[in-house]
Symmetry: D2
Subunit: 290 residues, 4 copies
């Protein structure tokens, strides 16, 4: 293809995601706040380390930054090429997408909120899931580039819809985590073998990604590897609760679980993995979940 | 094998479960309150329709009745063969198992609480999951018989442990259902395409058996097929909450979800499928989840 | 005193509140969207029905409007006298007060958020409670005017603090209402005489304004008089939950109760009194609270 | 009067309660597990320290023991005079009352569950509230004796009703405590003066016994005096939740608050006052409520 592609933000996810673009595109530019990282990426994967000004002159511009605020600041500081598509893979705030999209459209730029799931392993293997909000025409044009990095790529609605799906997904993760910790605590207190019990649950109607993966791989074995911070889960569940509030909905389990994640985040050390929420339950119930 | 096997209670589950026993055992006896059903089973699958007195003289006796109370009454009314193993596949109450086991042991009978999951389709295909509580020696002896009906068969602890795992599994199902309804309502109110959104969630960390099966197959398509009654889910979540109370645990999401299932059960018509819980959320939020 | 006072917004509360000002001030001006109401007030209480332009030239300007948005629009449309104090008795949003205060200060106007409690009876008898946020100097200068209308008048903090206290007060009202409905339902289902039971509770540690006044006077007697709309309580509890979210707090009972009030508001007819929340519980539990 | 009265259980409450009986009755007998306490009471108040056998021969027998189990054991160990009334002031379990009443009735003894509120100060000043379940004829006969110790004495229903009202009262206390801690935390995090704010709330619709007494007198001043143990509040809220479960009710705020009290009880030191529940909230939200 003759399109030029940029990738802005080479963090744990972005670095791996951008590595797949040269397989399908010849002009792939990368930019990162620390230039060294971009240069390393260029050497390793055949991309081009460019200035921010140059990066925003590409036909399709991906961004993957910590928060929507970071994206807003960056967008406000540059002159983006008219006709470009901005694909924002940040786990962002729907309201921010709804604000950014019309602002960029006035400048001839189409904005897609396109958060991903699949963690670093999915970024490495190009098996990410993209949940995309924004104009369908922009989605169709950006699809080939997303396909180099992802497996399941879905247009889920208008601007903000992508971020909303990501927030709700992470809210479900949080609820399932609370539920699994409570269920495991209940069984533990009655002398049940947790490993065997969860094998049964995982073959039954109570299964979730948490029962089949998070509890066995992070909690039961006491590893709590720091791959996704509890504070970020607290942020994401907060975004979900804000969506509930915006629509004046009644969502008691979302509301209750958000409180618990928020408390766990306050109670844990900085940088703790989201699975350490289990430790709050262990204190509350004077037992260990293993 | 030369062991004799009985199956007591030929309901939707029991009828199908008992059909597999003749494949591995030559002396298979069945009993049901309505004799016709037992005779039909005998004709269809080569089992023997016997009297209750005869049924409880087998080496291994399976029961699959509506509630633990039914099992208690039946057990109290018969003289079970000393040396027999009673395998109770009812979705029962842990406390009942803890009471029954020592009473039967005094008569030389080992009692296993062995509820199953997998629904009628799993009973038909002999792919059920057995979660079994009680003495390991009894488990080992009853294992070959259970293997004719199930795929995953686990000894999860002492008497009551099997029922506890089943109750917790169904509690998780209930929580996941509330969570998915709330998440779907939130997305719906923000104009997100639910089908596409749940495709993404099912490939992500928020996946559960509810998001991948219950919502798409029962709620989004408005079918609400009556396969598992909401009132039974309310009963099972009540058993789980009672386990929480017994151990004086703090389990806020279990407690909150049990309230919601209980309310939904009161609000719905008799016999409604558990998935109709979604309709309570639809009233609470003035929208439809589709 | 020689100060001039204005009162903007002669609704059910404002009409009665402004009636007390002439007792202590000679120059009292009133303004209302419908002029007739202001003229009636002038005739009845010796105030002066003036134009909005004239009203905002007074030394102290009270406002009592439906929402913070109404106040913001009105403030944006007029030129307020420099040196004036604006005392906003609306049940408003803390964030709005934090925004308005510095904007007005630039124009030489001090803004106080000063919501009241005590309902129309308190407005009539000049026994209102004022919870006031903003600069202490402005509070001191506006105190004599507030004292003509209220009994307890407190400076609770900086801009927004007054609105925050009102929101939290109404959140507590909502929680106590849910709690009392649940407690009453529990007792009713066990055959307890509610009238006698609540007499005991009201003399004990479980007493609240809801147990001693709302339930006996509005629910037990099935009167549900429309004095404070359930939709407004839903709005106020939403403001409280937003304060929780802003500070990233864990407040599980606030979160859960807000969900219930929100659901009850969706389930009830427009204009229903807040006490009709009891009817939601009656449906959920198939009983009546009387 | 010529009736004989006994008081069994001279703890902090019972010792003070029994002191008032000699004012209206000439034959007042007391019994306590440690005889010295009974003898001291006899000397101090003119009662008679008797054997347990003698105590249960009185016309009216009061008991005030730690739990319903203690009462059941004691009742099972003695021969009570036929025609006597047993007035049980323990904070007990409704189910226990429903079991004891018919057992005693067969022996010609009428049982009243008659828990009290008002704490030791109310016992000292004879201003207790009695909430009484059981036969109205027994209530009427025991009324004069109760009147020597209490101010408000109510017959609230059949056997168990008195215990149920006490449990619900303490559940409301627990909910109000959670609510007040959450409300205070919210205000604190927004810089509001808590003392002034709660003065306003106490004059408004959000008032409760907790906002007007518990928070100002136990939490804001950091005194947390040990007068009513958090573990006992956890027990009482558990009784209330069991009543909810028995009737298959939906009571989400009761359920959620019970979880919180249970967690706080696990997290606190043995013997901590119920007001230390505030400290759990302080940890969860990284702030102090003062």
């Amino acid at each position: 293809m003759t399109q030029s592609i940029s990738f802005i933000g080479l963090g744990a996810m972005g670095y791996r995601m951008a590595s797949h673009l040269p397989k399908a595109f010849s002009d792939v530019r990368v930019w990162n706040r620390t230039t060294e990282k971009a240069q390393k990426h260029a050497q390793e994967f055949g991309t081009h380390a460019v200035s921010l000004e140059n990066a925003v002159q590409a036909d399709i511009i991906f961004s993957c930054l910590p928060t929507s605020q970071d994206v807003e600041k960056l967008v406000a500081s540059v002159h983006i090429k008219s006709g470009a598509i901005w694909v924002d893979c940040t786990s962002g705030v729907p309201e921010s997408a709804r604000n950014l999209a019309p602002i960029l459209l006035e400048k001839g730029v189409q904005y897609l909120d396109a958060p991903v799931s699949g963690q670093t392993i999915g970024a490495e293997n190009a098996t990410l899931t993209f949940m995309v909000g924004g104009q369908k025409t922009a989605f169709d044009r950006a699809l080939p580039a997303m396909q180099t990095m992802g497996k399941l790529i879905k247009h889920v609605g208008d601007s903000g819809a992508g971020f909303a799906v990501k927030a709700v997904n992470n809210m479900l993760l949080a609820i399932h985590l609370c539920a699994a910790c409570e269920g495991a605590s209940t069984l533990k207190s009655h002398g049940v073998n947790l490993q065997e019990a969860f094998d049964c649950i995982n073959a039954s109607s109570g299964q979730s990604g948490v029962t089949s993966s998070v509890l066995p791989n992070r909690v039961f074995n006491r590893s709590f590897p720091s791959t996704f911070a509890l504070s970020l889960l607290a942020k994401d569940t907060g975004i979900a609760l804000d969506l509930v509030r915006e629509s004046k909905l009644s969502a008691p389990i979302i509301a209750a679980s958000q409180s618990l994640v928020q408390a766990a985040s306050h109670l844990s050390e900085d940088g703790s993995d989201f699975s350490t929420l289990a430790k709050m339950y262990e204190s509350m119930n004077k037992l260990t979940i293993e």
